[in-house]
């Protein structure tokens, strides 16, 4: 639920509650005041009757009126208590019952005690109350609507800086090397938030950069000792008089150094891609490129009895040549390495993308797992960075890289090229 909606619903609920309560109070106080007014009129009538009786010693002539009825009833014994009461009033003109107000009193004319009942219609008073009520209701309604609308508009405008900051945070990507841009706002809270977020993004970037630099430097520094080991092994191999056991040992060390070298290179390459250090691109005929690569691997494929089938449509792509090479070599290398004897590799290419499918283990791989850094299957001899490299390169170009298990084949799809 949005803050604005939450706030609105709360304030709306409170407003309605307050209006209902005040409305009730309002109604009762107005009707109390107006009833008091009617009672005063009745008292005036009563006084007039008393005046008349005092002067003339007779009951006054009663004229029929639409909204005032006076009744004299002779009563015996003692008088009635003077009181005001609500009653029904029959409007002869309108021919229907209305509410009215009666003053019951008594007057002595000669020796006869009369009860006086002065009844006045309250219909006008009620009309007035109704009118006041509706007008008030209308005003409240209009006010509420206007307030809500203004809230909505003003709040939305006021929150703009917040949404901009939020968007910037969402778009924030460490690898982009751009911090979060400051958003201008006159509101203190947003300015503080923005200031902190901007500062935080800079700090994070700084940390990330130094971490990256460390990884890159470490990998670089490792290259020289590796080069020395490698060259010493090369030199050692030139020494004659060796037995097969020694030869095998050297071979194994050599092989391991080779793996270390590849691992190191992959790490360097990864950090270079993540740091967007590889900018230059050229237009490449992907169809031709894939064919050339397949030719490179021809002997290797033949050696393992792997049959390759291609469905290549013409496609040109703007990409860095070295990175494309890494993608294709890794995909092809995997397809060969994780294949079975007499297996199959299917390469498809069209305008949208390309895919490498190979036979191999009969169970699907876990997509999440295989894209993890340094993940490798137990029988793999690779660095565990091959697919990560491909993923990073694809990400940096905005391609999508997915794994799927189709027709008993492991497929790696690159789309959106």
């Amino acid at each position: 639920m949005k803050l604005l909606d939450r706030y609105n619903s709360l304030s709306l609920l409170t407003t309605i509650l307050v209006i209902v309560v005040t409305g009730v109070i309002y109604y009762f106080s107005i009707s109390y005041i107006l009833t008091g007014q009617v009672d005063k009129d009745l008292e005036v009538e009563e006084n007039e009757i008393f005046e008349y009786v005092k002067l003339n010693h007779a009951l006054p002539q009663v004229f029929k009126s639409d909204d005032l009825i006076i009744h004299f009833t002779p009563i015996g014994g003692h008088g009635v208590t003077r009181r005001f009461s609500d009653c029904r009033f029959f409007d002869a003109h309108e021919r229907d019952e209305e509410s009215g107000r009666t003053l019951t009193s008594s007057v002595m004319v000669g020796q006869q005690l009369y009860r006086i009942e002065i009844t006045e219609s309250k219909v006008e008073t009620e009309d007035l109350i109704r009118m006041i009520f509706f007008i008030t209701l209308g005003i409240v309604f209009v006010l509420l609507t206007v307030l809500l609308l203004i809230n909505r508009l003003v709040m939305r405008r006021l929150w703009q800086p917040f949404y901009r900051i939020l968007k910037a945070i969402k778009l924030f990507n460490l690898a982009d090397r751009n911090g979060i841009d400051p958003v201008n706002s006159h509101i203190d809270e947003f300015r503080d938030l923005n200031l902190e977020v901007t500062a935080m993004s800079q700090r994070v970037l700084q940390d990330y950069r130094s971490l990256k630099a460390f990884v890159e430097n470490a990998a670089h520094e490792l290259m020289t000792p590796l080069a020395v080991i490698n060259s010493k092994l090369d030199t050692l191999m030139q020494v004659g008089e060796m037995n097969d056991k020694q030869g095998l040992l050297i071979s194994e060390v050599y092989h391991t150094v080779g793996k270390l070298k590849k691992l190191n290179r992959s790490m360097l390459m990864l950090s270079r891609i993540e740091n967007k250090l590889i900018a230059e691109r050229e237009e490449i005929d992907l169809c031709q490129f894939i064919q050339d690569m397949v030719n490179e691997f021809q002997e290797l494929l033949a050696d393992r009895g792997i049959v390759i089938s291609e469905g290549l449509k013409p496609c040109r792509i703007k990409i860095n040549r070295d990175l494309l090479m890494i993608i294709l070599n890794n995909l092809m290398g995997n397809a060969i390495q994780h294949n079975c004897k007499q297996g199959k590799i299917v390469i498809q290419l069209d305008q949208q993308g390309f895919s490498f499918c190979n036979t191999g283990a009969p169970v699907p791989l876990n997509e999440k797992q295989i894209l993890q850094r340094f993940y490798k299957s137990p029988e793999s001899e690779g660095s565990g960075l091959g697919l990560t490299l491909i993923k990073e390169i694809c990400d940096s170009y905005g391609f999508s890289f997915r794994y799927a298990f189709r027709n008993n084949m492991h497929c790696f799809d690159i789309s959106g090229i």
């Binding site: 290259m223 030199t235 080779g258 070298k261 230059e280 050696d303």
Partner: protein, 240 residues
């Protein structure tokens, strides 16, 4: 006439004068030993000043240049070399495989770029290629005894009779000849033929079939049996 020319070529191929500018003593010595063994002249410089002095006074067939040096950059040495119009071939060896460095180096006129760590056999093959390209007569043939490799036509003749090699076998032969008399590891061969980005393992047994085929083709054409396996580590192209 043809024979004298051939012998000239051979002597030119075998004796090469190179300068190694590298601050890491272990690597410098290995390179020197590897090159010097086959009768080449190999001088070394470990830092910027010495290197600059040497390149101003002497000429080399090829200079192996490390970019990161104490008190200076290898790229400055390269610039100095080119500013003086010295014709020496330059091969940059650097731990940085940063494309920028490579491009800058090649833009400045380096002939090739090799990323550390590398195989000495690969280094030798690259150096020999540079030397061949730089040689005044545009050396287009490599002659090893009865084997003649035509670099332009990518054609191999044994006793003047052409033999048909696949692309990989041709590259393999060239690699062997550049490193004749040296044991080349299987890794080095695999990386030379397929590049080093791929993770193809299986102990490189797959290169065995290439070598077997190449050897068979050469012997069938009447050449000597030069390729031999060495203690399971690698292969050697005998030069005697």
């Amino acid at each position: 006439m043809h024979k004298i020319y051939t012998e000239l070529m051979m002597s030119f191929e075998t004796i090469v004068k190179i300068l190694v500018i590298e601050d890491e003593p272990g690597l410098r010595d290995s390179i020197r030993d590897y090159f010097a063994e086959s009768g080449n002249i190999c001088e070394t410089a470990s830092e910027y000043e010495t290197a600059l002095q040497k390149i101003n006074v002497y000429r080399y067939d090829c200079i192996l240049l490390d970019i990161t040096l104490p008190n200076g950059s290898g790229l400055d040495i390269l610039e100095a070399l080119k500013a003086n119009h010295h014709p020496d071939g330059v091969l940059i060896i650097s731990a940085k495989n940063s494309l920028d460095d490579r491009l800058r180096g090649l833009d400045l006129g380096a002939d090739d770029y090799l990323t550390k760590p590398f195989h000495l056999s690969e280094l030798k093959a690259r150096v020999m290629a540079i030397v061949r390209r730089k040689s005044f007569n545009g050396n287009r043939e490599i002659i090893f005894r009865e084997i003649t490799i035509d670099l332009l036509a990518k054609q191999v003749n044994v006793f003047g009779v052409s033999i048909k090699l696949t692309k990989k076998e041709y590259a393999l032969l060239l690699y062997f000849v550049a490193n004749k008399g040296k044991v080349i590891s299987k890794n080095a061969i695999a990386e030379h033929l397929w590049g080093d980005e791929i993770d193809i393992s299986d102990n490189f047994d797959f290169i065995y079939s290439h070598i077997k085929n190449l050897r068979k083709k050469l012997i069938e054409a009447g050449s000597g049996d030069y390729i031999q396996s060495t203690y399971g580590m690698g292969y050697k192209f005998r030069d005697h």
